[in-house]
């Protein structure tokens, strides 16, 4: 045996064959099988031409270093999508071009949020553009890089220019209007295209594993209010704060304030619930609000928690609502067609 390994041809051939054999078993065959046995979902929409250019920019700028695009089949990933990602979600992705490889962009780091479903979670073009110009305009604690080179500053923008509402302190002394370049618009188009495709009717989605036990504290009478208040703040941070800001003052010219808002503090609960569930686009001076509640599948408890948080924060002092009230309104509101 020892003489066998004293022969360099035999030694290195043996090692190589072992390695190549294992490689074929754990990499090449599984890769080929997955490539051949999966097809995109029937209702999956292919990327538009703009979104495709946006994806190229996403790859070029290394966004995948911080943003994953995979909803794992574990309970904690529910925030990022309504179902775990499956092979079919990636099946339509093929080689980019002669020079560049396939980009499934699954990612291995989540320094920033997962983007699998960002098109549903944050569809607002205005928000995305402002955020891209400098993320800290809308999310103070963000450490995402700013991409000002995807914008130009024009003194007199033409009619077709997409103007981005950037507060003066972020312009670093420059004067004029911030106008999005094609690149910025492509990139936003790609982000807006990131929506989880619904499974065909009757197909059960894979389950989320490692389910969290439902917090028992909410069941106890006295604690319920406290629990839902905390809950309301968390829900607000996750779903609303990016636009309406932590201080409830919104962003002038882009997102309306909730502090002192007649809708928030008033008695027309139906309108209020409707806006949360279905979004809002009635005021020209502000951006479009997406159907946040519908996207996140809010229950009456969650809607009530958010409303109560908003009605009692930043100096707002309106009467608290109960989940029972909201349930009734939700039943009515749900019948309305989504805008």
């Amino acid at each position: 045996m020892s003489s066998f390994f004293d022969n360099h041809v035999k030694l290195f051939s043996t090692a190589s064959l072992m390695f190549i054999g294992l490689t074929i078993c754990v990499a090449i065959i599984p890769a080929l099988r997955n490539q051949e046995n999966n097809a995109p979902l029937p209702n999956a929409e292919p990327l538009s031409a703009d979104a495709l250019k946006g994806k190229a920019l996403f790859v070029a700028n290394g966004c995948v270093a911080c943003h994953t695009q995979q909803v794992r089949n574990v309970d904690m990933d529910k925030t990022w999508g309504s179902r775990p990602s499956i092979a079919a979600d990636y099946a339509g992705i093929t080689r980019t071009d002669f020079w560049r490889n396939t980009a499934t962009l699954m990612g291995t780091e989540r320094t920033g949020p997962d983007l699998t479903n960002i098109g549903n979670r944050q569809p607002s073009k205005d928000w995305n553009l402002v955020h891209l110009y400098n993320p800290r305009i809308v999310v103070k604690e963000s450490i995402m890089p700013a991409y000002p080179w995807m914008f130009t500053i024009k003194k007199e923008p033409s009619k077709n220019d997409v103007i981005v509402n950037v507060p003066a302190e972020y312009l670093q002394g420059k004067e004029g209007k911030v106008v999005a370049t094609k690149d910025a618009l492509y990139l936003v188009a790609y982000l807006q295209s990131r929506k989880q495709t619904k499974l065909p009717d009757g197909t059960p989605a894979p389950e989320f594993l490692y389910k969290q036990e439902v917090k028992t504290a909410a069941a106890g009478g006295g604690n319920a209010a406290a629990a839902s208040a905390a809950n309301g703040q968390e829900l607000f941070v996750t779903n609303c704060q990016a636009c309406h800001q932590a201080n409830g003052e919104g962003l002038p010219g882009a997102f309306p304030p909730l502090k002192g808002s007649p809708v928030v503090t008033g008695d027309d609960l139906e309108k209020y619930v409707d806006i949360i569930m279905h979004g809002y686009d009635a005021r020209a001076d502000y951006g479009v609000m997406p159907p946040v509640g519908t996207n996140a599948n809010f229950t009456e408890n969650e809607v009530a928690a958010i409303m109560n948080y908003e009605r009692t924060s930043w100096g707002n002092n309106a009467k608290q609502v109960t989940p029972e009230e909201i349930k009734k309104i939700l039943d009515i509101v749900k019948l309305k067609p989504a805008p």
């Binding site: 390695f19 890769a31 790859v59 574990v74 560049r100 396939t102 980009a103 780091e109 450490i143």
Partner: protein
């Protein structure tokens, strides 16, 4: 004294509680003990408590000895004891005694008693407060019942236990000091006794002194000639330099290496150093960007583009060139022949440098293969690297084929296989036939981990198998362990790639295979670590006066802890907490930096003095070592701690931004640690410069000989 007694009682109490718990669990039903449950953790705490108990008992014994002494000295102040003492005085003592007889007695030496007592009490109390916290965790949440977490905790406990051992040693010293104090008291009494000796006794002592003073002349056998160092065994240099750091041995001069090979190896290592400095400067800047995201707004310098520039430059530039340079030195040495072709070596060097240079520019310009980690260079760029590898492979194989030794030394097994495997890995990763859809992800998992394990780790192990025995000047402990590690590494490492995509859409069975493979990695890692550490056996004293061995030692320690941490991270539960967080970043630095980089440094400091004949100043090597090591700790520990908290936050459904806010201070620590690491690289680069540069100061001895030679030559000319 009372307080010292409380301690063992406390630990006894602890131990009782825990054993009681176990016993009661066993009394009725079959034991539910299982290593996957909290009991394993509990069990470990019990073992630690037992250890503490043993330590406490030993201390107690010491203390009671002290007391015994105390009591005895109280009782027997009588003549007998002192007479006994005086009978056993040695000659010098007798001499002094007799001289002093009419002068004064010894003075009072008892000082600093209070400080000593205070400090010992403090020391005794600190372990109780530290250890008291640990068991509290034991009966805590399910977190501690997960094997991945347990493994990590054990890895963390290793240094804690080492610290504990140190504590015991210190305690023993304190107790000894206490004992000495009593002895000094006794000495004082003895002195008073000796003051009043009778004449008779004095005479007896005089006699005794003469008897004791009898000695041989010590040259009965050797004669009276002065000693002579005929074999040049002694080399005592009068030049000592600054007395700031410990003096280490200088590198031994070795048989000369062919100048062409030497020049090439030096170029490899020089280029590698450049890429290290370049790559980590970028890395340092990236670390700063985590705390100051608006540091610049230049597209070429944005985070997403620079990150792959950093990783690829340190991978393919620094580590790869460093390894290949050392490989070019080792393969001809262990084959006992010349390198097949120096030219091929140069081509490979040029190609790889070109690959990293063009690749970095491409990435900064936004030309990226597809975002897969370490696969960001587009194929034409990576092809240059691949050709460089192929050339090196041919060169090495031809050299080995022409070897004059019968067997192939284990270093060559590792290094040549690493090159072959890496060519296979690159082909698998860059050929387009199996890359659509999830195929890309499966290949990505395979590629990113094989790149690390089959290229860097395998090759570096080969280097260590040559340089470690050489630096210790003894053979490797076990050749067979090295071979076992070799085959098991191929078997298990190849399987583990997809553990980067646990819970993703890739097949469940593939994820399981990866996790099992990660566990199997314990075999090669433990075999390798054992082999290296056992090679140190009997040579530990050499660490003290060598400046390369500390680098090896750090590399070996991280080889064990870093690799086992990788295993722990692969489990499904630990994936819940740590996946997608900066824990992975900390892990990759512990391994790529703690293992690979430290080993390459060790070997660089070992080989360059042999090639250039010059050494770096030891104070700078020391500065390099400590800044790199401390920097790495500052870098990784806060990141691991913070990411664990962040993972738990995610698990509890907290808003995503809360995690970002939480990480801020840990990212700051990372930047600070990174800065130290970066600074150490500047020192390293300067050391390389010092070792490379042509000497400008005149060596007095060397030039004296030269001058005489020249003079001789001139004198001999007219004679012709």
């Amino acid at each position: 004294m009372r307080k010292q007694k409380v301690l063992p009682l406390f630990f006894l109490f602890l131990a009782l509680i825990f054993t009681g718990k176990i016993v009661s669990a066993q009394s009725m039903t079959p034991s539910s003990f299982s290593f996957s449950k909290g009991e394993a953790w509990l069990c470990m705490m019990i073992i630690i408590s037992l250890l503490l108990l043993v330590a406490a008992l030993t201390l107690k014994r010491k203390v009671s000895q002290l007391r015994e002494n105390n009591r005895r000295s109280m009782k027997k102040t009588n003549e007998e004891v002192f007479h006994e003492y005086s009978k056993h005085l040695n000659s010098k003592q007798i001499d002094q005694l007799l001289k002093m007889k009419n002068k004064k007695g010894p003075g009072n030496t008892g000082t600093a008693l209070l400080a000593l007592l205070l400090s010992s009490v403090l020391v005794l109390f600190s372990p109780s407060s530290v250890m008291a916290q640990a068991p509290v965790k034991a009966d805590g949440t399910s977190l501690f019942s997960e094997s991945g977490i347990i493994i990590t905790l054990v890895l963390i406990l290793i240094p804690v236990l080492a610290g504990f051992v140190l504590l015991i040693v210190k305690l023993r010293n304190a107790v000894n000091k206490q004992g000495n104090r009593q002895r000094i008291d006794e000495a004082a009494k003895l002195a008073t006794y000796l003051e009043n000796l009778t004449d008779e006794e004095r005479e007896r002592l005089e006699k005794r002194k003469n008897a004791l003073n009898f000695s041989l002349t010590h040259n009965e056998l050797s004669g009276s000639q002065p000693a002579e160092d005929e074999r040049g065994l002694l080399d005592i240099s009068p030049e000592t330099g600054y007395n700031v750091v410990a003096h280490k041995k200088r590198a031994l001069p070795r048989p000369n290496i062919e100048p062409e090979l030497s020049r090439m190896v030096l170029w490899y290592l020089g280029c590698a150093t450049f890429w290290l400095l370049f790559g980590t400067t970028i890395g340092e800047y990236l670390g700063i960007k985590f705390v100051a995201p608006d540091a610049d707004h230049v597209s070429w310098l944005s985070f997403g583009r620079l990150r792959p520039v950093h990783t690829n430059a340190v991978f393919w530039g620094w580590a790869s060139l460093g390894m290949l340079g050392l490989g070019n030195y080792i393969v001809p040495r262990v084959s006992n022949t010349k390198l097949y072709s120096i030219k091929m070596g140069w081509y490979a060097l040029i190609l790889i440098n070109a690959s990293v240079l063009i690749g970095s520019i491409c990435l900064m310009a936004g030309i990226n293969n597809g975002g897969g980690e370490y696969r960001e260079y587009i194929w034409p760029v990576m092809l240059l690297f691949g050709i460089g590898l192929a050339l090196t492979l041919i060169n090495f194989l031809k050299t080995i084929a022409a070897r004059t030794t019968k067997e192939i030394y284990i270093s060559n097994w590792y290094m040549v296989s690493a090159i072959i495997f890496t060519i296979v890995i690159s082909l698998t990763a860059y050929l387009p036939f199996w890359q659509d859809g999830l195929g890309e992800t499966i290949v990505q998992g395979y590629y990113m981990h094989q790149g690390v394990g089959m290229w860097f780790m395998l090759f570096t192990l080969g280097i260590v198998y040559y340089f470690l025995p050489q630096q210790l000047n003894k053979p490797i402990y076990s050749y067979s362990l090295g071979i076992l590690a070799f085959w098991t590494q191929i078997l298990f490492y190849t399987l583990i790639g997809s553990h980067h995509f646990v819970f993703s859409a890739i097949p469940w069975w593939l994820q399981t295979v990866a996790i099992v493979g990660s566990m199997g990695m314990a075999i090669p890692v433990i075999a390798g670590t054992t082999n290296f550490l056992m090679t140190f056996k009997g040579g530990w004293y050499k660490v003290k006066d060598s400046y390369t061995l500390p680098f090896f030692l750090v590399g070996i320690i991280f080889y064990f802890t870093g690799s086992m941490q990788g295993t722990a991270e692969a489990f499904r539960f630990t994936n819940l907490i740590w996946h997608f967080t900066d824990f992975t970043v900390a892990h990759s630095h512990l391994t790529m930096y703690g293992i690979i980089t430290f080993f390459i440094w060790a070997c660089t400091y070992a080989v360059v003095p042999r090639l250039t004949g010059k050494e770096a100043p030891q104070i700078l090597v020391g500065a390099h070592f400590w800044m790199a090591l401390i920097g790495l700790m500052f870098y990784t520990i806060p990141l691991m701690y913070g990411s664990t908290l962040k993972g738990l936050m995610w698990l509890n459904g907290k808003p995503f931004m809360d995690g970002v806010v939480l990480m801020m201070p840990y990212w700051l620590w990372r930047a600070i640690g990174g800065s130290l690491m970066w600074l150490s690289h500047v020192v390293f680069a300067y050391n390389i410069y010092l070792m490379y540069r042509k000497s400008k100061t005149v060596d007095v001895r060397e030039s004296a000989i030269q001058k005489m030679e020249e003079d001789n030559a001139i004198e001999s000319v007219p004679a012709i």
